[in-house]
Symmetry: C2
Subunit: 331 residues, 2 copies
């Protein structure tokens, strides 16, 4: 019987392994129009922390004792739907499980010839589209402008920073270790980077960007956001993508004391959720495949093997155990 992971308790602060259960699910049963999928790769993402809370947000909270939601890429094992055949590569949003049956309408057929199917969860998936929409559509980066990306060695940040470079911007990134900082400048070819665990972001930006920054792509919130507001030039833009530094707070911490600067500096801060921007998927995928093929876009992934390791992989996101996208390989 295939295995799946269910949410058993709503985490209070940092999620614990005991909040989840790895259970055997019944073998998939199909009706006409259904497809059986064997997942190859599944995604764990920081946003899932919000879905574990019992609070209405842009999506319903995950129900308890139910398989955890999330995107996965798999192969069709059996099909009773005319559009799918065994061997097809498909993407679903049906969660943390090894094998499942679903109506064909719940699946998206992918290019089976593409050599890196896991990219459909990282650079070519919601992760990449988040960076693309947040940086390019919402912040309008112009050549020569300075872009700061926090959590820049992470899944979204590493792509956002490279997109800024591709657009001709000067790119500054922060990351949580010296090894990640080296990765930013060497592999992702950022212009500058700093370790936010050993340098205060306020001091680091003042030193690295004495003329200020023009765009801030915020994955972190907290002190990073405060430092960015301090550093932003007039008419600067903030893409508010997430605030991973806050996701496990039992009580919300205070916001940036310098937020009032948004008026004299005429800043625009815009929160966004990738699911509002699915109309950009075709153009995004065309662009991103070209950048990956040319080597302009480096795709990094941290791969964990086996569904039994999905929970530690998810929890590890909050201590920065991933470089690039955190993925679980199931095949």
């Amino acid at each position: 019987m295939p295995r799946e992971i269910r949410l058993l308790n709503r985490p209070h602060a940092l999620p614990q392994p005991s909040d989840f259960g790895l259970v055997r699910a019944p073998d998939p049963q199909t009706a006409d129009g259904d497809v059986v999928v064997g997942n190859l790769w599944m995604s764990v993402d920081p946003y899932m922390r919000g879905r574990m809370r019992d609070a209405q947000s842009y999506a319903d909270p995950w129900p308890l004792n139910h398989v955890c939601d999330g995107r996965a890429v798999g192969r069709v094992l059996d099909s009773r739907h005319p559009d799918f055949a065994a061997g097809d590569l498909v993407r679903s949003g049906l969660g943390w499980r090894e094998i499942f049956a679903a109506p064909g309408a719940a699946l998206e057929k992918l290019d089976a010839a593409y050599p890196h199917p896991q990219h459909y969860l990282s650079a070519l998936g919601g992760t990449g589209l988040t960076a693309y929409v947040g940086l390019l559509d919402l912040c309008d980066p112009q050549p020569g402008q300075t872009v700061f990306v926090s959590g820049a060695a992470g899944a979204v940040g590493s792509i956002a920073g490279q997109l800024a470079r591709i657009r001709g911007c000067r790119v500054i990134g922060s990351a949580g270790s010296d090894a990640k900082v080296a990765l930013l400048t060497n592999d992702f070819r950022f212009d500058a980077a700093f370790n936010y665990k050993t340098q205060d972001p306020m001091d680091a930006l003042a030193a690295i960007a004495p003329d200020g920054i023009d765009i801030y792509f915020d994955n972190v919130g907290g002190r990073h956001l405060e430092a960015a507001i301090e550093s932003l030039n007039d008419f600067g833009r903030i893409a508010a993508c997430g605030s991973i530094s806050r996701y496990n707070d039992a009580t919300p911490a205070a916001g940036p004391a310098n937020l009032f600067q948004i008026v004299p500096k005429r800043l625009t801060m815009r929160g966004f959720i990738v699911s509002d921007h699915r109309d950009r998927q075709p153009q995004f995928e065309t662009d991103m495949k070209a950048w990956i093929a040319s080597g302009e876009m480096q795709v990094k992934e941290t791969v964990v093997d086996g569904i039994e390791n999905a929970v530690p992989a998810f929890i590890g996101l909050f201590s920065g155990q991933n470089t690039g996208k955190m993925l679980v390989r199931l095949a």
Copy 2:
């Protein structure tokens, strides 16, 4: 000799009368192209507090021992410029003084037949344009949406709220006294209002707008901003116009602890300064004159007589001594 007011010290927290000096200026001397103006009305505004700091912002700080900047409306007393004649009504940005000479290029000729010349400093001036641009251009209010305006009995707020009503929105305002709250609903015809000195804005909004607000026009910052973020619906807009609750802080207070909600709610917060939007002046003036003439827009002013009372009038802004625009009558 005419009198003028100069800034003597940079205020630390709330400005004190001793930070200013009322002095006699030399009688105006003119060269070819100059115009002598006798001010009828001058404006004191909260934004001036920021200009008294020794910090670069969107405008240079005011120099010490120099006449305080600011807008005024006056009559031409004498002209050596072909475009101006004695008796013309003009607007300048040349500050807190009774009589002065300036090049014609520094003056803007107004409609001398307009019956309320002081409106050119309030509803028809930068105050009105601030409300117009901030609400209509930046927040795109749609009929049936709910708009919350803080400091709504003040100069900008009273106009912003009425513009929202004119656009067919439901309008909620906050003000600092029961008398002002009554003014909001009776005179300005807001749908609802509350006294923020006796009701916490978070509780008040929850009660008055159980279905949330769509737009927040922020004149106050602080707890008002936090309450608005809590109440804003998905895709809500914040026009960040000012944060008068913070202007006299010697040390900036913490920002809103719920700022992270900007992501899941997809909020847009946009700071703005009216001087970036002077291109809107002609359309704004046409619209506003029509709304005033029809009675849709009520213009309230708090009038203080004599330049010797300009400093108390300015300081009084921070304890809400004005209803509508605070003006000093000099004639």
